[in-house]
Each structure stands twice: as C-alpha cells, then as structure tokens.
C-alpha cells in the first residue's frame, strides 16, 4: 500500500514538473480575426418601449470563417478625450448608466468567409425607468491564441447609447478654452498660451455634471488685437460627446476643410483643419455654447480665453527691430545730450578724489 502511494506521488510530481517546464502545445486556430462592425449605435427609447435592430457584422477574411463570441460590458471614459474605458472584468459591478440588463445580443456568431451577417440586437427599457443617457458596449471576440509564450486575441467593440427622454439633470461647467495641440488627444496639457506655430485647432473643455451625455451647439469667436474677428460655427465637427461625469475636451478647427472620403463605390464625409492663416499677435477666444435635451430647458454657457501666436521668425524680426531702434535711439539721445550739455568728459583720478 505504502509502495503504491509513493508511486502515485512520484507520477504526480513528474507530471506537474513536465507541465510547468515544457512549452505549451501550439494549437492552430481555425478562425478568422478580420471583422467589420458598426462602431456606434444610438437609440431614443421611451420607458416601457423596446427597439429591435440588427447588427451588421462582416467577415473580411476571404478564406476562413469568423467565429465570434459576443458579450455586453460597461464602459466609462479615459481622460478628457473620446477614448472609452472598457470594464472587461466579468465581475465589475454595473455602472449607474449601464445598459447590461436591457441590451440583448446572441452569445456566438459564425460568419462565412467574405460574407456579412445581420444579428439581432434588442434594447428594452422597462416602464417607469428614469430619463437620461444609458450606455454599454458590445465586445466581439475573435481569433484566440493558445500556445507559445504570447497568445493573441483580436476583438472589436460597438458602443451603444440610449437616450431615455424626459426631465433630466443637465449641468455643464465651462473649464477651459484656447489654442490646442491635437496630439494631446483631449488632455488639458494640449492647451498652449504661447504658440510658435500658427494654431489650427481651438479646443474647449466642459465638465458634465448631469445625467445625460452632452454635445453643445453654438459658436466661437477669435478676435485679434486690431479687432478683426474669425467665427467658428462648427463647434463639434466630430460629433463628440461628454459622458456622464466626464471633463471633455472638444476640438474644432479655425478653418475647417470638409472632405469626401471614398470607401468602395460610395463616399463618406470627413473634415480636417486647414491652415488657419492667423497673423502673429494676441488673440482672444470667446465661446457661447447652448445645450439642453428635448423637453428640457436650453442653457447657455460662455467663456473667454486667449493665446499668443509668436512664430520664431516674428520673434527674430522683433528682436532685430528693437535692437536697431535701441541703437539709433541711444545715438540720438547722445547727440541731443551733447548739443545741450557738451560732450561727456571722463573723470580723472584727481577729480574723483575731490
């Protein structure tokens, strides 16, 4: 009996060490990881009503079927930009704006190579549900890596926003406005008071203290030191949103250049910032923004900021001009002084002693 016991323990120990030390077996995946999905869905649903919609999913891989696992998770925001912060952990508690209980999608989908499939999406808002904005995300998980040191998973996400109409709490605080460096992706460090390159982007930051996502309307006026104005009407060309609790930086262009982007046989609208054509100097920036959901009060927030645009060539020219002016000014001063009081005489040692 003792012999058998030690034999079993030895086998177990060997198995354990082999499992631990040997590289895991590499299992070839037989699924595509190339998918096309809708990045965002928006719905307006009255309490007690539901929406039956279709999610269009495309398998772009021409050779292999796409096996997807779908699940609904919550998300929030990352920083001041438009990046969703996905709560991937299945144990994460629901957010107060979660749609997880109301949004239903199939758990698995298989799509043939090069084909598209429409899968059901159902959102049902219960009766008596409070007005406001609710949002969650659908995660589509594909190609799974099993084996080797590094496994790879590819997933896509659709953000789903539902607006439940009614009396909502809306409050936006205007916190920042000014010239902005787009590379900062919404971060407040992107605001620059002194600019050596002509700013083409104007940004404004709003803190959303309400229970609805917000996208303001209105305009921004730039005024130079001579009083000339440039008005920006497209305040939110990317249709960005301030999520609940987010301090969101919205970006717009001094001069917006609309573009038609070709995608297959059709076109889609886009826009980029054109050269602003600003002259060196100080600019004041004033914004007049309006917000308010349907059936709620329209509210207005304003803010004034400013920035300097001083290109290096301008600073160089200014230094040279000031230097030349200083030089000739000093010469003129000496000339006048000499005419009035006579030339300066250096004091001798004996004169200083006296």
């Amino acid at each position: 009996m003792k012999h058998i016991k030690s034999l079993v323990l030895a086998v177990f120990a060997v198995l354990l060490s082999v499992t631990y030390v040997l590289p895991p077996t590499q299992v070839a995946a037989d699924s595509s990881s190339a998918l096309g999905i809708a990045p965002k869905k928006n719905y307006v649903i009255e309490p007690g009503n539901s929406v039956q919609d279709k999610l269009n999913i495309t398998n772009l891989d021409q050779a292999t079927a796409l096996n997807l696992t779908l699940r609904v998770i919550d998300f929030s925001f990352t920083g001041n930009g438009g990046t969703p912060k996905l709560f991937l952990d299945t144990n994460t508690p629901q957010t107060t704006w979660s749609l997880r209980s109301y949004l239903k999608v199939p758990q698995t989908v298989t799509i043939d190579p090069g084909k598209s499939k429409q899968v059901d999406l159902n959102v049902a808002i219960p009766k008596g549900h409070g007005a406001g904005s609710y949002y969650s995300a659908i995660v589509y998980s594909s190609g799974s890596g099993q084996g080797g040191n590094i496994g790879l998973n590819a997933s896509g996400v659709t953000l789903v926003f539902v607006n439940v109409p009614g009396k909502v709490k809306e409050n936006l605080d205007f916190t920042h406005i000014g010239a902005y460096d787009r590379a900062a992706q919404g971060d407040l460090s992107g605001y620059h008071y002194f600019n050596t390159q002509a700013p083409d982007t104007i940004a404004y930051t709003l803190k959303n203290n309400g229970n609805v996502v917000e996208a303001p309307a209105g305009n921004i006026t730039l005024r130079d030191i001579f009083g000339r104005t440039t008005t920006i009407n497209e305040l939110n060309p990317s249709s960005s949103l301030a999520l609940i609790g987010q301090e969101r930086t919205f970006l717009t262009c001094v001069k917006l250049k609309p573009e038609d982007v070709k995608l297959g046989n059709t076109t889609t609208k886009s826009s980029t910032c054109d050269a602003s054509g600003l002259w060196p100097g100080y600019y004041s920036v004033s914004a007049d923004l309006f917000y308010g959901q349907n059936g709620n009060l329209t509210q207005e927030v304003t803010k004034v900021g400013g920035f300097w645009y001083l290109p290096w060539w301008f600073i160089g020219v200014a230094v040279v001009v000031l230097g030349v002016a200083g030089f000739y000014g000093w010469r003129a001063y000496n000339k006048i002084r000499n005419k009035l009081y006579g030339p300066r005489v250096a004091k001798t040692k004996s004169a200083r002693r006296k």
Binding site: Y20, A34, G36, K40, Y43, L88, G148, S239, F290, G295
Partner: protein, 361 residues
C-alpha cells in the same frame, strides 16, 4: 520729504477746484443712473427657455412647444422665431436641412397669451398681439403643430427668439434668447455608407484585412540573461466614422505560475539581464525588430508612449494606436521584447494579449 509735500500740495490744488464741479451729490446721481438706468434700457435674455419636440424623428411632421419667460417690463407686440443652425442672434442664419415651419399652426398658448401668427416662411414665424406689458410671472408656452423636423442628425438646430414692441416683428428688440433642438434617430443618407470599423490582428495580416496567416501565438525561445527574446504581430484597422478609433492592448503580465515578469510602466530601453516585457508599434534597432505603420492614412498613429523607437512598455488597457477622425486602413506592427534576470525562476512564461479596436465617442 519736502518734495513729497510739494507733490501733495499740487494734487490738492488740482482737485480742490474740481470738487465744486463734481460734488458728492453729482457723483451719487451718476452712480444711481448707472445702476438703475442701464438694466432697464438694455435688452435681457428670456429665462427658462426650452423646446419640446413631440417626436425627434428626422423629417417627421410634428409639434413643437416653446417655453420662455418674458423678462423686461415693456410692451410686447410681437415674438419673432427664426429657425437656424446657429443659435447666436447676430450670426448669419443657415436654414436647418429639411426643416419647414411654413405650414405650422399655433395650437396652444399659455402664460402671456393673445398671440396669433402674423407671418411665416420655411424657417421663420412671427407671432403678434396687441402690445401689452407682460404680467405673467412664470414661463409662457407656445405650441405649434405641422412643423417638419430637420433631417440632419449630425448637428443641433436652434430657434432664435426675440420680443419686440411692434406688432410686425420690426423695430428695436426687448428680450432675446435661443432654444436648442436636435433630431436623434439616425437615417441613412443615400450617398453615404454607414459608419464601419474594420479590424484584424494576427502574426501577419493583409493591408485591407482580406486575409491573415491565422497565427495567434508565438514561441519566443529560451530565456537567458544574455539575450533579448523578440516576437512581432500585426494589426490593421480603419474606420469611416468621424470620431476615429482606438486600439487598446489588454492582458496580464507574463508569468509562469506565481513567478511574474513585470513590464515597464514608462517607455524604457530593452535591458538584458533584467526582468522586462514590453511592446511598441514602431521600427526598432535595439533589438532590430518591428516596422513603422504602413498605409496612406497618416492620421492613424501609434500613441505617444508606444511610438518611440527602442523604447518599450506595457500597461494593460493602454491605447496603443488611434486615429482622431476618419482613417480608412493602416497596418501596425506590434513588437514584443522579453528580457530575464539571472535570478528568474525557471518555467514557461506566457501571456495573452487582447487587442481591442473600438470607436471613439
């Protein structure tokens, strides 16, 4: 001291004579005029402004209820309502696409009443009544039926309102203010494709995601304090959505049982002999691995921390690549480096990196 006394004396002589011209009473009168007269003569904004659209479906014929509170105690003979994209009163008025109020009828009014439609066009309604000073202390509301909603869901529209003493919407205004509305249910415009996000990831992918090598794992070799193990994978991503996309890298640190190889939280050079796992998305020389992003859409870029050659980091959930707006397709190469110290416990170190592409909001 004497000089200061002289200066004070000069100042006193200067202002002494002014005292008889600008008496205290005169200054007080000026202040009173400033405090009390200015608000009365200046235009003020309507308070508690709001708009209720019975339905927000684009292009639908529906009713609008506009609420506002008259603020100035002056006779109001007309209420001008101009429908524009921009809410600012002095800006040029662009008519919201699809909107039509030319057949609207005033079906209900409360608070300050007695109004009827004086004139109307596609985006303009003037209400008129016998000029009367508003007496109703709370907000007034006006309901119009037969209004055709705008069709553009991408932007809000506004009603610029102003009250006037005349009965035809002319002359100096009394109060003003705008309300905001927006159609919300999406409709597809024939000439445009619906927003789409395209994404693929594997060891090798085609530029347009039409194919991959279907390899989703990689053996990096045997760990040694004198070697840097490397691997690479590729991802291609694009979207025609105006908000652009982000790709995040998610996953646990590389580990074997309870033994973990941590990752630098800041971009760090590869250092042999230390425990280090990191990634970046650009071409590197130390070690020689990776590629710069490929494709014409230059607005899709690696994020700052993952775009420095020869510097690596990995923090789960970090954005590794993004585009702030439309970017149809761009291919990125993800480089992985793995270093180990001599004290690292023996074992097979593994991790699974989940690359997630999502739209922005």
């Amino acid at each position: 001291m004497g000089r200061m006394r002289r200066t004070l004396f000069l100042l006193h002589t200067l202002f002494h004579s002014w005292r008889y011209i600008c008496t205290e009473e005169f200054v007080a009168l000026l202040l009173a005029l400033f405090v009390f007269m200015v608000p009365v003569s200046a235009t003020t904004r309507f308070e508690t402004r709001g708009l209720l659209m019975q339905t927000t479906d684009p292009g639908a014929t529906t009713s609008y209820t506009v609420t506002l509170k008259f603020m100035s105690p002056e006779q109001v003979g007309s209420l001008d309502m101009l429908f524009c994209n921009d809410p600012i009163p002095y800006m040029p008025c662009a008519i919201p696409t699809g909107l039509d109020v030319s057949h609207a009828t005033l079906t209900n009014q409360s608070g300050e009443t007695g109004f009827s439609i004086h004139s109307q066009t596609q985006n303009h309604i003037i209400l008129a009544r016998t000029p009367t000073v508003p007496i109703y202390p709370s907000e007034s509301s006006f309901t119009f039926s037969g209004i055709v909603n705008p069709t553009d869901t991408s932007q809000a529209f506004s009603i610029r309102m102003k009250s006037l003493s005349s009965i035809d919407g002319t002359g100096p205004l009394i109060d003003f203010g705008s309300v905001r509305g927006q159609v919300e249910t999406g409709i597809m415009i024939q000439s445009q494709v619906p927003p789409m996000l395209v994404f693929c990831a594997a060891q090798h992918v085609d530029d347009n995601c039409a194919g991959t090598d279907e390899t989703y794992y990689r053996d990096m070799g045997t760990l040694s304090p004198h070697d840097t193990l490397t691997a690479q994978s590729q991802l291609a991503v694009g979207t025609n959505a105006s908000q652009g996309f982000v790709v995040t890298a998610n996953g646990p640190p590389m580990s074997a049982g309870t033994s973990v190889i941590n990752s630098p939280v800041l971009p760090t050079e590869s250092q042999q002999g230390t425990n280090q796992f990191g990634i970046n998305l650009v071409e590197n020389t130390v070690p020689a691995i990776g590629n710069n992003p490929e494709g014409t859409w230059a607005n899709a870029v690696p994020s700052a921390d993952y775009g420095i050659p020869n510097k690596y980091k990995f923090v789960s959930g970090d954005v590794v690549a993004y585009s702030p707006n439309v970017s149809l397709m761009r291919k990125f190469t993800v480089s992985y480096i793995l270093n180990s110290g001599k004290d690292l416990r023996a074992g097979v170190y593994t991790t699974t990196i989940t690359l997630i592409a999502s739209g922005r909001f």
